[in-house]
């Protein structure tokens, strides 16, 4: 029966070519616009580390001074080097990581004249295990290396490609700021979006190319890229990266075995803040934040407001397209009242007529979906040409493909219900008499 309905639908579509084409075009446009924006939304609002995002927590302490301070405001964005070092020393969580960003040239002892500038993450031993870094060769460094300012480094797949042609470079030396460092690990290509462990260099920047112990980076007198807030005496005549500078620029993350452990850690952070206040280092009342990955991304408003706005706009557009399709389908259906009358007189039930017209709407919907898919691919191509830092991420995946088809079918069925119902209401006697 379904096949028969499909055949009828096909014939009717051909009979009203112009009107059918109009409907498919309008639906395709609506679906295409929706899928383009939804895909961007989906990619940008995704969970960067799904299986443990509820166990990874960002730490904020309020180390700022009282000038311009208001109760209830967000604490300073990053940690000071002093506090991050102190928390790391206490080791109150199964894993903890302090880190910050930089960019430096990396060369070989006898390498090319033009140095390769690479993004740097200065961090501590747990970083790779906490964020699930994929290893191609070797591994990370140990907490003892952190203590000893060991001259070790981990490099990304792409830097390994540039420096060593992709060979296993564990044990080789690189020159950074005039000093030799030994490579202990090489990563596989590693994509993490958003770049959640440090949002201050752009929310969707790529993972870093060069990793080394925080202590080593300080010993090499590396600088800092990213956000930095200073207060009071700030650098106090020295460098703002000094242990005792009143500047916050270090990101701090902890991992627990289960999400519930966060409460105990929060108590520890409050106790730490109070102790610092007693010692005269902190001036503000204890004001800590401990947010898991998704809460952190939400609080920092990582999803660009434009993207959300575009998505709403596209859905408004789809709504207009669906209303439009209802109107056109209705016109097309009522034009065929005579034919419906004949079919009803020959014994078709109201249900038969209803089903036939729903199938017809569904067929138009699938055609609209295919057109929409093409348009969405075109739309995403356009998005990728735009110069945002997230533009290159806009790709249609299997889930979004299924959603496209589902959305189109749903939209066309919703649009088809009313006309099909009206068709089923046609009274055979009246139609035949008019004829």
């Amino acid at each position: 029966m379904f096949l028969h309905y499909l055949e009828l639908a096909w014939r009717n579509t051909l009979a009203a070519k112009g009107l059918s084409a109009l409907m498919v075009l309008a639906l395709g446009l609506g679906i295409g616009a929706c899928m383009t924006t939804l895909t961007v939304y989906h990619v940008l609002s995704g969970d960067p580390i799904p299986h443990k995002s509820d166990r990874l927590f960002n730490v904020q302490l309020d180390a700022g001074d009282l000038i311009g301070w208001q109760a209830g405001q967000e604490p300073t964005f990053d940690l000071t080097r002093y506090d991050a070092t102190a928390l790391l020393r206490d080791r109150k969580a199964p894993r903890q990581v302090m880190s910050s960003g930089f960019n430096t040239s990396v060369g070989l002892p006898d390498g090319p004249a033009k140095p390769i500038f690479s993004s740097v993450r200065m961090t501590s031993a747990d970083f790779f295990a906490m964020f699930d870094a994929p290893w191609a060769h070797g591994g990370g460094w140990s907490a003892a290396d952190d203590e000893a300012e060991a001259r070790v480094a981990v490099i990304s797949a792409s830097l390994n490609e540039k420096l060593f042609g992709g060979a296993n470079s564990v044990g080789r030396e690189v020159i950074v700021r005039g000093q030799p460092l030994r490579i202990v690990g090489v990563l596989k290509p590693w994509k993490v979006q958003p770049h959640f462990w440090d949002l201050t260099l752009g929310s969707y920047t790529e993972t870093e190319d060069f990793y080394l112990p925080f202590s080593t980076a300080m010993a090499l007198k590396m600088g800092h890229w990213g956000n930095m807030d200073c207060w009071g005496k700030g650098a106090n005549g020295g460098s703002s990266l000094d242990l005792n500078a009143s500047c916050s620029w270090v990101q701090y993350w902890v991992e627990f075995d289960k999400p519930e452990d966060a409460a105990a850690y929060r108590d520890y952070l409050v106790a730490y803040s109070e102790a610092q206040r007693k010692a005269g280092r902190f001036e503000r009342p204890a004001n800590v934040r401990l947010r898991n990955v998704m809460d952190w991304l939400g609080a920092q408003k990582v999803l660009p407001a434009d993207v959300r706005l575009q998505t709403w706009l596209a859905f408004g557009f789809l709504a207009v397209c669906v209303v439009n399709m209802v109107g056109l389908l209705l016109a097309k259906t009522l034009r065929r009242s005579g034919e419906i009358g004949v079919r009803r007189a020959l014994g078709a039930t109201r249900g038969d007529i209803f089903r036939q017209f729903v199938v017809e709407a569904g067929m138009l919907g699938m055609a609209g979906a295919l057109l929409g898919l093409l348009l969405a691919q075109g739309g995403l191509w356009l998005v990728r040409q735009s110069p945002n830092d997230y533009a290159r991420l806009a790709e249609l995946d299997a889930a979004m493909l299924a959603l496209t088809l589902g959305l189109a079918l749903l939209a066309s069925l919703v649009a088809g219900l009313l006309p099909a119902w009206r068709a089923a209401l046609v009274t055979p006697a009246l139609q035949l008499k008019v004829q």
């Binding site: 009107l19 109009l22 075009l25 309008a26 446009l29 609506g30 616009a33 000038i67 311009g68 040239s105 060369g107 004249a113 033009k114 140095p115 500038f117 700021r177 005039g178 090499l220 007198k221 005496k233 650098a235 106090n236 005549g237 407001a305 434009d306 959300r308 706005l309 575009q310 706009l313 596209a314 408004g316 557009f317 709504a319 207009v320 397209c321 209303v323 439009n324 209802v326 109107g327 056109l328 209705l330 016109a331 097309k332 009522l334 034009r335 735009s386 110069p387 945002n388 009313l418 009206r422």
Partner: protein
């Protein structure tokens, strides 16, 4: 003409669903298009913001070394480099500055009228450069004077003491008006880094925050100041627009030749930087525009489709009326009036929805209120659209020969 009104209303009453759909479509389109046009307008306004600089004549070069450089040397190195750049043919002026408009850096400092951050306080964009900044940027001095070469301090030395002493500074007009309303700012004292006062020696007209309307640091009011400090930063050149590309190449070669371990990592003209800075706004405006056009097209298609259907359905009625003496013009008017009625209903509902949507956008996205002119503009454009869309089917109806129409 208005005697048609009664038959139209009675026809529409019989086709309540189809009529309702047209009204709904027009209303939705009206609500979305007015707000989208307003969004486009806000983006275009942002695109036209004046930076106050001689943009078309400026270029920016970023230089990096692969070997660590002693920070106490950076001021001296910058001074030598700038001397070299000024000697290049075609270069009108050159300087090293800590930040530049459309760039990624943003330095801001609190400035107060009393020592130790007390009294009236503003947060200002903090530029640090030598006396060549004003000619290089093409800034206009409204009052006072520029720095003299011997007032320029070495940035590293100035900040290597706990209480930096910076004797003079230049502020922009916004800051002058804010700190010293109704009096001249020149000669006044302000405090930037604690206890030592700095004297305002000049006021420049327009000098913006580097991130303009996307300010994250600073207080967003547009206050900015220039400190007479020499240190590391971006190299900024000024040359005639047609010479700019050549000068960028010459400057790159000259800077890299001095020390082979240094690399010019980025060399761009300020118009290029501006285009990059506004790319997102421009893309958004295009997208909104595209959606508006598609929406209007889809709505027009809907009107054409339904009107054609009605014409076909009423062929016999049209034939009767024509046979009874109605002119082609009257038939045309009939369908036009019908469309006017439907679109007007849609527009009235749509304008209400547009207003509600704008309230929602104001709350959720901190967008400015929809100016009222958009409402009549949206109404007029949808009226026109409706009349245009109904023209083809209405004319077909009017051209029907009465005999053929009655026989069908």
């Amino acid at each position: 003409m208005f005697k048609d009104l009664i038959p139209i209303l009675s026809t529409l009453r019989r086709h309540r669903i189809a009529a309702g759909l047209i009204v709904l479509e027009v209303a939705l389109t009206c609500a979305i298009v007015t707000n989208a046009l307003h969004l486009i307008q806000t983006r275009i306004e942002a695109l036209n913001t004046e930076s106050g600089l001689a943009e078309s004549e400026m270029a920016v070069l970023d230089l990096r070394g692969s070997k660590p450089q002693a920070p106490e040397r950076s001021g001296a190195i910058a001074a030598e480099d700038v001397m070299r750049l000024r000697a290049l043919p075609g270069v009108k002026a050159a300087t090293v500055v800590n930040q530049i408009v459309y760039g990624n850096n943003s330095n801001n400092s609190g400035v107060s009228l009393e020592p130790d951050y007390k009294g009236t306080r503003v947060t200002a964009a903090q530029y640090a450069a030598d006396e060549q900044m004003i000619p290089t940027f093409g800034l206009k001095l409204l009052e006072g004077r520029n720095f003299t070469p011997d007032e320029i301090l070495d940035g590293f030395q100035a900040f290597s003491v706990a209480d930096p002493v910076i004797g003079q500074l230049i502020i922009n007009k916004v800051m002058a008006d804010k700190l010293f309303p109704g009096r001249s700012a020149v000669g006044q004292r302000v405090y930037v880094f604690g206890r030592s006062p700095s004297t305002v020696i000049g006021v420049v007209e327009t000098l913006t925050h580097t991130q303009l309307h996307r300010v994250r640091g600073g207080d967003g009011s547009g206050t900015a100041m220039i400190l007479p400090l020499r240190g590391g930063g971006s190299y900024v050149l000024r040359a005639a627009p047609d010479q700019l590309d050549r000068v960028i190449k010459a400057a790159t070669a000259s800077l890299e030749a001095v020390d082979p371990t240094r690399v010019v990592t980025r060399a761009r003209s300020v118009p290029q930087m501006r285009a990059g800075f506004y790319a997102q706004d421009r893309a958004m405006a295009w997208l909104m525009g595209g959606v508006c056009v598609s929406l209007l097209l889809v709505t027009a298609m809907g009107i054409v489709g339904l009107a054609s259907f009605w014409v076909q359905q009423r062929t016999r009625m049209i034939g009767t009326r024509r046979a009874l003496g109605a002119t082609e013009r009257q038939i045309l008017r009939y369908f036009q009036l019908e469309n006017l009625l439907l679109t007007t209903t849609g527009i009235v509902i749509g304008l209400g929805a547009a207003w509600a949507l704008s309230q929602l956008l104001m709350q959720s996205y901190a967008l400015p209120r929809l100016p009222w002119v958009y409402l009549p503009a949206g109404a007029v454009s949808l009226w026109l659209l409706g009349q245009l869309a109904v023209w083809v089917p209405a004319r077909r109806a009017a051209r029907l020969s009465p005999v053929a129409a009655l026989r069908s």
